[in-house]
């Protein structure tokens, strides 16, 4: 597999991770083919291709403005909400192109959850924060089922013990780390199969970050996770695979160990050794 020359126009692109880690081919959950994104006149992504493997944590790293967040937001079509955005290429989810006309974006987002940079709990109670989506999606109708689901989701997010006595308290009364875990609990309550995380720990202190990282590690058994992070150590700690983005392209994509220990590209090496970015 040849990587794309940064200056050139080689047709071949990084697509599946160059891996030395596992001889077992894992199933591909999402596949991105030649994705290009324009915000108005400026192009943010230049034909990116990538496979997201099932039940793995894939980290996206790169300097600010490299397109990693844009890429992430294309995976559940959050970019559709932005005016003047043009998206070309193909993103498949279990083999279906999510940009195909028959695909319903609301339906799609219920299957691909997202956690944001800043914790954004709704101005509602802790209970309501989690019950909101299953209720509008019509997944749960009975009160007792809902109680069970709330408890289950909070437990999965490792928050249950801290909040079980004050489920009716506003979500905004929690600490930053708790708020972020509440948002994760909220996302998994609708039982998505992919979780997208956009720098989920950047607004948290180190202790809360450690808790959330541990949570991500536990969640990967059931979910496919794509995480954008600024923090290289974090990528090294949580991700099985890592993609390095630069100027709207993927420079290198491989299993995390080899990317950090034997980067193939000069750019990658410069970045991970802290020479720029």
């Amino acid at each position: 597999m040849r990587t794309r020359d940064l200056t050139g126009d080689t047709a071949e692109v990084v697509r599946t991770p160059t891996t030395e880690r596992s001889p077992v081919r894992q199933a591909t959950k999402m596949q991105v083919n030649d994705l290009a994104v324009w915000y108005g006149e400026t192009q943010a992504l230049h034909g990116v291709s990538m496979d997201v493997l099932e039940n793995e944590v894939t980290a996206l790293i790169g300097p600010s403005g490299c397109g990693k967040s844009t890429f992430l937001r294309c995976l559940n079509r959050m970019n559709d909400l932005i005016q003047d955005v043009r998206i070309e290429g193909e993103v498949t989810f279990d083999g279906d192109n999510i940009y195909a006309p028959h695909v319903d974006v609301v339906e799609l987002r219920a299957h691909i959850g997202m956690v944001f940079q800043k914790p954004n709990p709704f101005p509602k109670s802790i209970y309501e924060n989690i019950a909101y989506a299953p209720k509008i999606l019509g997944q749960v109708r009975k009160r007792t089922d809902m109680d069970e689901l709330v408890e289950h989701s909070l437990k999965r997010a490792g928050l249950w013990d801290e909040v079980k006595d004050r489920l009716q308290a506003p979500g905004l009364t929690l600490s930053g780390g708790q708020q972020q875990r509440l948002c994760i609990a909220r996302a998994i309550a609708v039982n998505p199969s992919v979780l997208l995380m956009d720098e989920p720990c950047s607004a948290l202190d180190p202790v809360a970050t450690a808790t959330v990282e541990q949570l991500i590690d536990e969640l990967k058994d059931n979910y496919t996770i794509v995480i954008v992070t600024h923090n290289l150590q974090q990528a090294a700690r949580v991700a099985g695979y890592t993609a390095f983005f630069h100027l709207g392209e993927i420079v290198e994509f491989s299993d995390t160990d080899s990317l950090f220990t034997h980067p193939r590209e000069k750019k990658t090496e410069d970045y991970i050794t802290g020479r720029y970015g």
Binding site: A110, P121, P123
Partner: protein, 403 residues
């Protein structure tokens, strides 16, 4: 007056030149000036103009109050002397060490501060002007009767010594009318205002928004007297006709027409305030909801509107306050007859109508009917003040919580 200011200007210029010259001389001698030469000039000119203006203002105020003051030329001479003394003293003080700039700075500060007191004085003025007359009224009519009485029938009194035994000042029907018309107005304004704000901030493409917003503001810019004419000449007959279609009898001065028109008038207030409030809800909340698979309307109804609720509530309270105090529409389109009823098709009168009626007639200024207008004004002031304060504080809190 013209002479006064016309004379002051050249004098001040002379003072400026002299102050500056003295400073320049000092500078030429090699002394280090604290401030710029021109600032010494301004310093002297200010000290010269201030006493003159003060004397002029005092004289003018006294004249307006009817106090005997010396004839205009004497005042002028007085002012001139004051100016000369002030200017001379300031000029003597001009020396290199004088901190003219700091003095000017201080003067500017206190001038600006004084200006900001005018708004406080205005509020005080409103309170004083209402309270004194209202107290006179309550000396003649018991507060209890005023608040609970259901019969408002003042007998016109043209001379202060006339009998007033038959006058009744029960204000309940006036307030009933006011609340009825305001309620109709809010029923029109709140849903239309809030929903159009939702459309403009959540749905409308940029282009529609830039056209619709100023068009809505036109509604806010139409003078109330114009709305009053519209209500009286077009909407009232329309209400009567439509009521007749349903076999109902409506008065030509029914409460519905002014209520509807007032509602139209208030739409832009509610919509622009709600628009601000909705726009200040952080986008991250909306994204959070979309990412869970909400549709747009679900996001608006379940996340955005509940979060914006305090602000929208405050906007509505401001709208209510405006409706209660609105005058021209009801003066022109509502009735004059105090009428305690639930039927909006009947004619009703309001507090503001009665205030205008009590103060534009030919009654003596101290007649109970005139004083009653001030009593009504007092109640109106207290009620609207409460509503305004609550909504101002809620909006301030709301802004802070999302900043």
């Amino acid at each position: 007056m013209l002479v006064f200011f016309g004379g002051l200007l050249p004098l001040a210029t002379v003072a400026y030149v002299m102050g500056r010259r003295k400073a320049l001389v000092a500078d030429a001698r090699g002394d280090r000036l604290h401030s710029l030469p021109g600032q010494y000039g301004v310093y002297v000119a200010t000290w010269m103009a201030l006493p003159a203006i003060a004397i002029g203002v005092v004289a003018a105020g006294a004249a307006l109050l009817g106090v005997q003051v010396p004839a205009a030329p004497f005042v002028l001479i007085f002012a001139l002397v004051g100016a000369a003394v002030g200017g001379a003293m300031a000029l003597r003080r001009v020396e290199p060490g004088l901190r003219a700039r700091n003095a000017i700075e201080k003067f500017v500060y206190w001038t600006l501060f004084t200006a900001s007191l005018v708004s406080i004085l205005t509020t005080l003025g409103i309170i004083l002007s209402i309270v004194f007359e209202a107290l006179k009224f309550f000396n003649q009519v018991s507060v209890w009767h005023f608040i609970t009485g259901t019969n408002w029938s003042p007998v016109a009194q043209f001379r202060p010594d006339q009998q007033t035994a038959e006058s009744q000042f029960g204000s309940v029907p006036l307030f009933a009318g006011t609340f009825m018309i305001s309620a109709i107005a809010m029923l029109v304004a709140i849903p239309i205002g809030v929903l159009s704000a939702v459309y403009m901030s959540e749905y409308a493409p940029y282009r529609v928004r830039t056209i619709a917003k100023p068009l809505l503001e036109i509604l806010a810019g139409i003078p109330t007297v114009v709305y009053g004419f519209f209500a009286a000449i077009t909407v009232s007959p329309l209400v009567v006709d439509v009521a007749a279609l349903f076999g109902l009898n409506a008065s030509y001065t029914n409460a519905l027409a002014p209520g509807l028109v007032m509602g139209i008038m208030i739409i832009p207030f509610i919509s622009s305030l709600s628009d601000d409030v909705i726009n200040s809800i952080p986008n991250s909340l909306r994204e959070g909801a979309y990412a869970l698979g909400s549709t747009r309307s679900e996001t608006i109804k379940n996340i955005v509107l509940p979060a914006a609720f305090p602000g929208i509530m405050a906007a509505s309270l401001l709208g209510v306050s405006r409706a209660l105090g609105e005058t021209m529409i009801v003066v022109m389109a509502a009735g004059l007859r105090p009428n305690l009823t639930w039927n909006p098709l009947e004619d009703m009168t309001t507090v503001t109508v009665r205030i205008v009626d009590g103060l534009t007639g030919d009654q003596a200024f101290d007649s109970p009917e005139t004083l009653a207008a001030f009593a009504l004004g007092l109640v109106l002031f207290v009620v609207t003040l409460t509503l305004n304060l609550v909504s101002i504080i809620v909006i301030r809190k709301f802004r802070q919580s999302y900043e």
